[in-house]
């Protein structure tokens, strides 16, 4: 029986229609079709970045303003929006979900396959190749690999920062340990030696030994800087199967576990140690961290040590992509070509090791890294980028990363069965790897 009077029914219908309309408005926030034409009037561009460094932002703005001055019919203004590094990708995807996609954005290497494969990014290869004086062939093939799909390029790898090992020579000398630089010169710079020196130094200093910076028993992919020396990998290049259970990975993870819980060479879970504050003998981190050194102790920087399978350089990358669902991808791609052309790439090299072969030399890089000698820059940065691999990436990285983190938590105890943990890790992530 319907108790509604006509008036009440009308009211209810109006209310329901209002609610439905609100819902549809919200639902439509999932983005509108991208415009691909050159705009009729000048547009505003926005690029998301995770740096808050005023010097860097000023440099970006200077290049952007020059582009606006040269192309007043295309662009009215360009802004750089800083998002916090810790939540960068989350903030970015939230913007995409809200229909507020930036025109361009920095992308972390770990999420590169996900962004590239999903169609979130526009193909910029032709725009870069066609740009006058761009010298596309100057870009290192190895640096582009992560950002390519078929024949397309979906982001420009503006930062290619090698991982290196910083050593506190003051602490090491005080502990009577051999100088790592001497070991590197004689070809004996190995993880075994690094572990022994770290453990002995920590025992004397009462501080910590070798710190894998930013690992913190959560960001396990940073351990790739170590396990690459064992020629281990969590999954093969196609990302379809789990190789955590392969002998080389078991051996590498056992080495890491024992370095923490048996040798005391690495800090355990829940222990904080900042190498740059003098809390540790060594740290594995990216070369850009050198700016944190304040001269309170003597230090050196060396390439990553060799494992049983030799030495493997590792780089951390970041790309600049143009979002396919932004309002002006064509103009944004044109700006990206300008932003990364040789002259501007050299300016950006003051902060980020570039992907251009012509700029990868100690002279250019010395501008950005005044604390490093020409020899250090050559050995760690120039040589470190050549033939380097990136940290693990996967098209389903976010889910895989969290699943692996949860499983590896069981390994960070003194009595852990490393092989059993890795077995369970593989059985857990196998379905995720297949997508």
């Amino acid at each position: 029986m319907n108790h509604f009077t006509p008036r009440r029914r009308r009211t209810a219908l109006v209310a329901a229609a209002g609610i439905a309309a609100s819902a549809l408005v919200l639902a439509s926030c999932s983005g509108s079709p991208a415009a691909t034409e050159t705009p009729d009037e000048p547009v505003s561009l926005r690029m998301t970045v995770w740096t808050a460094d005023e010097t860097q932002l000023a440099q970006f703005q200077e290049i952007a303003d020059a582009y606006v001055a040269e192309n007043p019919e295309l662009v009215s203004d360009i802004t750089f929006e800083t998002l916090p590094f810790a939540d960068y990708t989350t903030s970015l995807t939230t913007q995409l979900a809200g229909g507020n996609a930036p025109d361009l954005g920095w992308i972390m290497e770990s999420y590169a396959p996900e962004f590239v494969q999903s169609g979130a990014l526009a193909d910029i290869s032709q725009t870069l190749k066609d740009a006058e004086g761009y010298e596309y062939d100057d870009l290192l093939d190895s640096s582009l690999e992560l950002w390519q799909k078929d024949d397309g390029l979906y982001a420009y790898p503006f930062s290619n920062s090698p991982f290196a090992i910083f050593v506190n020579t003051t602490q090491i000398a005080a502990a009577g340990q051999p100088n790592p630089a001497d070991l590197a010169a004689s070809g004996d710079w190995t993880y075994e030696n690094a572990r022994d020196i770290s453990a002995a130094t920590a025992a004397v200093s009462g501080k910590q030994g070798l710190v894998a910076r930013d690992f913190d028993f959560k960001v396990w992919e940073n351990l790739s800087t170590i396990w690459n020396g064992w020629d281990a990998e969590p999954w093969p290049a196609d990302g379809a199967s789990c190789t955590f259970t392969e002998p080389e990975m078991v051996e590498a993870m056992t080495w890491i576990h024992d370095a923490i819980f048996v040798d005391g060479a690495m800090p355990g879970p829940g222990v904080t140690a900042d190498f740059f504050a003098g809390d540790a003998a060594m740290t594995i981190t990216q070369i850009s961290r050198a700016s944190a050194l304040d001269g309170s102790f003597e230090w050196d920087v060396l390439p990553l040590p060799a494992g049983p399978e030799g030495q493997q350089n590792v780089i951390g990358q970041a790309g600049i992509g143009v979002f396919a669902n932004a309002k002006n991808p064509t103009v944004a791609a044109d700006f990206l070509a300008y932003f990364t052309q040789p002259d501007n790439a050299e300016k950006l090299a003051a902060f980020f090791p570039p992907p251009r072969e012509s700029l990868l030399n100690a002279d250019v890089l010395a501008v950005a890294n005044p604390k490093l000698s020409a020899e250090q820059l050559q050995a760690v940065v120039v040589d470190g980028i050549q033939g380097a691999v990136t940290k693990p990436t996967h098209v389903n990285f976010a889910k895989v990363q969290d699943a692996v983190r949860a499983q590896l938590d069981a390994m960070w105890t003194a009595d852990a069965d490393v092989e059993a943990v890795l077995d369970k890790t593989c059985s857990t992530i196998a379905p995720l790897l297949k997508g």
Binding site: S22, A23, A27, S118, G270, V271, K399, T413
Partner: protein, 315 residues
């Protein structure tokens, strides 16, 4: 006077089969004023409560890939997926343990503190301030401080070592991590419940307690048979807000444990956050939001219905 006119008008309209008589200008003016008064609240509720709720329901029926910018109707797929999702079951279990631990300890401790601070003793005002002060502190700041205290080489283990006890690595053990999160939340909010209980205790008529004392009732008997029934409406209020709050815990988990170790502290809201903002699966996250809404609604209704059995003096 006005209400009488309205009632008469309504009754007349219901009896008559002809066209409704026109309301007087005064009544219309009253209505306009009334609707104008409630309009902001109603519009606010529509825009910020009802519309998002309907939107979430709508999103939950879709497969929404943020990166690919696809929004495809998938019917009940997300709800069917929930039934087979082991991660969701684990998060529900974690939420259950967290809620039980928090609710039991929070209400018990708040009541105990309120009873203690209801005594006429010197210094009670200072202690009330001490226990209430965490309530006004920023939740994230509070949690960050606790994260330092709970580290293996943090303040708590440092204190324990002074008395010869080797403390555990609080945030790395599955049990101790859950206990840590509960304790952090407990000390953050126990002061608020304590103040509510304190207000209720101070409204208990002294003459009733005196009568019970004259009848020979001891302290415990007076508390159980007189005080508790008289403050039962406050117990209902506190239990509802504490249970709902315990199911919506997020910041403490995000800052302290990140859902770990393993997935031991991945409670429902944190799991929802992961699905939406880390895995970009907004459709599925919306379905989990609906589940959370239903759980909170059912628990609140259960408490509301059972109040008739144990809440006294509702009026």
């Amino acid at each position: 006077m006005t209400s009488t006119v309205v009632e008469q008008t309504t009754r007349t309209a219901e009896r008559s089969e002809g066209p409704r008589p026109r309301r007087s200008a005064a009544v219309r003016a009253d209505w306009i004023v009334g609707y104008t008064m409630v309009a902001p609240a109603v519009l606010g509720a529509l825009a910020f409560v009802i519309a998002p709720l309907v939107a979430v329901l709508w999103f939950s029926l879709h497969d929404w890939n943020v990166l690919a910018n696809t929004f495809v109707f998938s019917g009940t797929d997300n709800y069917e997926r929930m039934l087979a999702d082991e991660g969701l079951k684990d998060s529900l279990l974690a939420s259950l343990w967290f809620s039980i631990g928090l609710v039991v300890f929070n209400i018990s401790l708040a009541l105990l503190l309120a009873v203690l601070l209801n005594q006429k003793l010197p210094g009670t005002t200072t202690f009330r301030t001490f226990f209430f002060s965490p309530v006004v502190v920023s939740l994230v700041a509070w949690t960050i401080v606790w994260s330092f205290l709970l580290q293996a080489d943090g303040g708590i283990n440092g204190f324990l070592s002074l008395i010869g006890i080797e403390g555990p690595n609080w945030l790395r053990g599955e049990f101790t991590a859950m206990v840590s999160v509960i304790v952090v939340q407990l000390f953050k909010n126990v002061g608020l419940n304590m103040i509510l209980f304190l207000a209720a205790l101070q409204s208990v008529p002294e003459e009733i307690l005196e009568a019970a004392r004259i009848d020979g009732a001891g302290a415990w008997r007076r508390f159980r048979s007189v005080t508790l029934p008289l403050i039962s409406p406050t117990i209902l209020l506190v239990s509802i807000i504490t249970i709902v709050g315990s199911l919506e815990v997020f910041a403490q988990i995000a800052v302290l444990t990140g859902g770990g170790p393993g997935n031991s502290t991945t409670v429902l809201v944190y799991y929802l956050y992961q699905q939406a903002f880390r895995f970009n699966d907004f459709g599925y996250a919306s379905a989990i939001s609906v589940l959370l809404f239903v759980i909170v609604l059912v628990l609140t209704l259960i408490q509301w219905q059972t109040r008739k059995r144990w809440v006294f003096h509702e009026n």
